[in-house]
């Protein structure tokens, strides 16, 4: 589904990502872990098209997307959620998702009919909201939601673009235990239908969700394997897990 | 004539630098777009002119005018500008545009509409001959313009020392690239902001004091040059003192050369009457064209301070 080879990004003399190779198979949940400053956020930025890479290529579903801008990649089915929650605070929950539905349905150069009365868009948006369990809040302003709900909405917006592959940038960040469990349940339900690329600090979440794990240290992938392999890898233990405990 | 015009251009450039250095600092550190920076340019000229007439000494007047303008800057920061740092750029544009109107009217009311001439001591009234060059049979420059150039360079060096080699300067540089870090360092941010604003305003006032003996102090004298100063800041890169210096000298030379030689060039392709009307306008247009081209190539200006 997603093949990345020799991807690099430099900031001055600092190599944020250095010759990263990655192979995400269709239908799996692939997690990327690593200590702070390992280059995970940079990698996500490069994959989704927010940052341009200095070297390397990205193939998505067999197509070279390395030079494509972000919105083109999304249109091809490569969506993302943000680490820092970004939703449109002044819009209703429904409208937030509807923007994504609009984007997915082609251009929005329609200047006269009220968009809020477009039942086809509203229906699809409600359907996505039902998927993440937010149907009841659809009339609320996004700015009035709790942190956990905003994170859920964030995922709903990404889902509304009908992605083949979803990049999740620390979906559990800043959540309480209860909210985390709800989110975990939601992701588990998504798994299988959509390929997931997950960046996460919470190891419990990673090990309960991921089929494959890649370990990123100093901008390089030092190991890729199943959760069990990673758990037992001496290299990883030394470079990363070992430090932790 | 090239050497003479080069000196004229550098002198204009150094004045632009004095004006834009404060602008780029307040912009880079406080994220403040301050149109009323121009009012300090005007205020400096008027205060200095009045003091010169009062004391009879131009140099003494400059020495006395600096603390006065600094005090006014402090009051303005404390009462109005300080409340704008958290607002978006549009609000800042409007409020400081309002400040310009207020300052212009107060000056009109206080000093009258005619403006003030600044008498220079006799030793500054003369001219200096700098020999000749290939293009110039005789290079004769008014002594005072050389003084402006020299004084401007001295002040610029002082500013570079302040920003580059002192603790305050370290904080200013830190602030220009990352505002959040400042409060994390335990710096009294409010105090630093007031200080930077006052410093920038004094620099603008100094520019006004230096130009007053040439053009006289007049109402609204800053309103045109402030836009040029903004162009300098944008071209140089917001928050970059080095960028401001290079851009200011560049713009000063472009503007002067445009006025000096463009009409002759245009006469090659159009009637001399049309060329004489078009030349000053086109040379005024040049700097905007330059800015647009530079922003297209480098959307952050030539020397953007390193982010994050």
């Amino acid at each position: 589904m997603l093949e990345v080879s020799a991807l690099s990004k430099h900031y001055g003399g600092v190599k944020a990502t250095d010759q990263v190779n990655l192979n995400v198979k269709a239908g799996e949940c692939h997690a990327i872990i690593g200590p702070n400053g390992a280059g995970k956020t940079t990698l996500i930025g490069q994959l989704c098209g927010e940052l341009l890479s200095d070297a390397g290529v990205i193939f998505f579903q067999g197509r070279n997307v390395t030079g494509l801008p972000m919105h083109r990649r999304v249109q091809l089915g490569l969506a993302r959620s943000f680490q820092i929650t970004s939703v449109f605070d002044d819009m209703t929950v429904l409208a937030n998702v509807a923007v994504a539905v609009q984007a997915n349905r082609g251009h929005s150069f329609r200047f006269w009919r009220p968009v809020s009365r477009n039942e086809s868009i509203n229906a699809r948006a409600l359907e996505v909201l039902r998927l993440v369990g937010m149907e009841v809040q659809h009339q609320q302003l996004a700015g009035a939601l709790s942190h956990g709900e905003r994170r859920q909405l964030e995922i709903a917006m990404a889902l509304a673009t009908e992605p083949q592959l979803l990049l999740l940038d620390e979906p559990m960040a800043g959540m309480g235990a209860e909210e985390s469990n709800a989110m975990l349940a939601m992701l588990q339900a998504l798994k299988g239908d959509i390929t997931l690329l997950l960046v996460e600090h919470d190891m419990d979440v990673v090990f309960s969700l991921a089929d494959t794990i890649s370990v990123l240290v100093y901008g390089q992938v030092i190991e890729t394997g199943s959760p069990a392999q990673i758990r037992n890898s001496a290299t990883v233990r030394e470079a990363y897990l070992g430090d932790a405990g | 004539m090239i050497a003479v015009q080069t000196i004229n251009g550098l002198q204009l450039g150094i004045l632009l630098f004095l004006l834009s250095s404060g602008l780029t600092l307040t912009f880079g550190i406080m994220d403040l777009i301050n149109l009323s920076h121009a009012s300090f340019y005007m205020l400096g000229a008027f205060v200095c002119a009045s003091l010169t007439v009062l004391t009879g000494s131009f140099l003494l007047a400059i020495v006395m005018a600096v603390p006065i303008t600094a005090f006014i800057a402090f009051v303005v920061e404390w009462s109005i500008v300080g409340r704008l740092y958290q607002r978006d750029h549009l609000d800042q544009l409007l409020a400081t545009f309002g400040l310009i109107l207020v300052a212009d009217t107060l000056v009109h009311w206080f000093w009258g509409p005619s403006g003030l001439a600044v008498p220079l001591p006799a030793w500054l009234q003369g001219q200096v001959s700098l020999g000749a060059s290939l293009f110039d049979p005789a290079i004769v420059i008014p002594t005072y313009r050389l003084l402006v150039l020299g004084f401007g360079i001295a002040v610029a060096l002082g500013l570079f020392w302040l920003v580059g080699y002192t603790r305050t300067g370290m904080l200013i540089r830190a602030g220009a690239s990352n505002r959040v870090m400042l409060s994390a360092l335990g710096v009294n941010v409010r105090l630093l902001f007031t200080g930077v604003f006052a410093l920038g305003s004094v620099f603008a006032a100094l520019a006004g004091m230096l130009i007053a003996p040439v053009t006289e102090a007049s109402i609204g004298m800053g309103n045109d040059i402030i836009i040029t100063a903004f162009v300098v800041v944008i071209i140089g890169g917001v928050g970059s003192i080095k960028g401001a210096l290079l851009a200011a000298l560049f713009i000063g030379l472009v503007d002067t050369f445009g006025r000096a030689f463009l009409d002759v060039l245009l006469m090659q392709i159009m009637s001399s009457q049309a060329a004489e009307t078009a030349a000053p306008a086109i040379s005024a247009m040049l700097i905007y064209l330059l800015m647009a081209v530079i922003l297209v190539v480098k959307p952050q200006g030539l020397f953007p301070p390193a982010q994050r």
């Binding site: - | 007439v53 009109h108 509409p113 008014p142 040439v214 006289e216 309103n223 004489e276 009307t277």
Partner: protein, 399 residues
């Protein structure tokens, strides 16, 4: 809902009150609209004109032809579009009987149509752009000043008589500036070596370093400039600082006047002493009304009047002549025009007549900067360049 209901009522009554307040004047009073510049640096000139108008009204006892007379001043802000707006206001809102003023040629060009189309008369107290003297001349347009070209033409003759062979020319880039350049070039027989038109307006260019360097390098025998208002002072300063008095003598029109001389004197810029200019008038001109004007002005305001003031003063007295003959009834524009055309009033320049384009036919003098008996810098007439001179556009006027 209270807010919604009361607000329009307040606004409506406010608007209505303001509209009605203008109707307070009794219908019979004479109302004169006077457009000049009262803000920006141009206000130096506007204030001088206003002072002269107020002096004239005071001397007339605020009556004209036995009727109370009022002046309504409006500020053009040095901008043509504002000038037109306030002209429209005076005509349509205040319903003035006659319009006067206008310092700037471009403001006048933007505004005059509003006046003449309303069948009212406009008396320019300064601006004299060439189109209004020629092709676009209008029966309802009069001037108490001059056509722009005349003064520089006199200067051209003066330069010829002094044997100047080559000239460098500088002027601001607007209607009057171009007229001034055209004027001096029409009569000057030597060579024009270089010409600079600089940015004008509210943000005029005031630093002339590049241009002065060009003038010096040109090797001309004389420097002709036209810089009215605040730019004049700035120019003289830089001219002096550049030390050009010795190599490039200065000949000016409308640049050195009673407004700039006190400032130049305070600034110790004695490079201007002895510099020559041409003009239709000078404070020392020997005419009966000029003594009344200059003495009255100096007594009331403690300074010499400028020629701008003299022209404004004349405009009021010209209107007064019409009001006196028509018993204070200025409503018949044709009758007013007939009286004005005679120019039968005590002018500060002595007597003059009107050409068919309603521009004065008058003398032009050369004057020089000197110190008066009290040591104040002023100007003194040194000779007569033209006698009863008519502008060269009058022949193009189809009236």
């Amino acid at each position: 809902m209270k807010l919604i209901n009361t607000r329009p009522a307040i606004l409506l009554s406010f608007v209505a009150a303001c509209a009605l307040s203008t109707a307070v004047f009794a219908a019979e009073d004479i109302k004169i609209g006077f457009v000049t510049t009262l803000t920006t640096g141009g206000a130096v000139i506007g204030n001088d004109q206003r002072d002269a108008v107020n002096l004239a009204m005071e001397q007339l006892g605020n009556t004209m032809g036995g009727k109370p007379a009022t002046i309504l001043f409006e500020d053009d802000g040095f901008k043509p579009e504002i000038g037109k707006q306030v002209t429209d206001k005076l005509i349509k809102q205040d319903k003035v009987d006659i319009m006067a003023g206008y310092i700037w040629s471009h403001v006048l060009m933007a505004s005059y149509r509003s006046v003449v189309n309303a069948d009212k008369i406009l008396i320019s107290a300064n601006a004299g752009p060439s189109p209004l003297a020629g092709k676009l001349c209008h029966a309802n347009f009069f001037s108490t000043s001059w056509q722009n070209d005349q003064t520089p033409m006199a200067m051209g003759e003066l330069l010829n008589s002094k044997g100047v062979k080559s000239l460098y020319v500088m002027a601001p880039n607007y209607a009057a500036g171009k007229d001034m350049v055209a004027g001096v070039e029409r009569t000057f027989k030597g060579e024009i070596i270089g010409r600079d038109l600089t940015k004008w307006g509210a943000d005029a260019q005031l630093d002339f370093s590049a241009e002065l360097a060009k003038a010096r390098a040109s090797g001309a025998e004389g420097l002709f400039v036209f810089y009215p208002g605040k730019a004049g002072g700035a120019f003289i300063q830089q001219y002096t600082q550049a030390g050009l008095q010795s190599e490039l003598p200065l000949y000016t029109v409308f640049t050195v006047d009673s407004l700039s001389l006190p400032k130049l004197q305070a600034g110790g810029l004695d490079g201007v002493m002895g510099s020559e200019m041409t003009l239709f008038w000078s404070p020392d001109l020997d005419a009966p009304q000029n003594r009344i004007f200059v003495d009255g002005f100096r007594e009331k305001y403690g300074r010499y009047p400028s020629f701008y003031a003299a022209q404004a003063y004349d405009a009021i007295n010209l209107i007064n002549a019409a009001a006196a003959e028509l018993d204070g009834d200025l409503s018949d524009t044709d009758a007013v025009r007939a009286v004005l055309e005679k120019a039968d009033f005590p002018s500060v320049r002595g007597n003059y007549t009107y050409g068919k384009n309603h521009m004065p036919i008058q003398n032009f003098y050369s004057r020089q900067v000197v110190a008066d008996a009290d040591g104040n810098w002023s100007t003194k007439i040194t000779g007569t360049v033209y006698e009863n001179h008519q502008d060269s556009y009058a022949s193009e006027c189809k009236l």
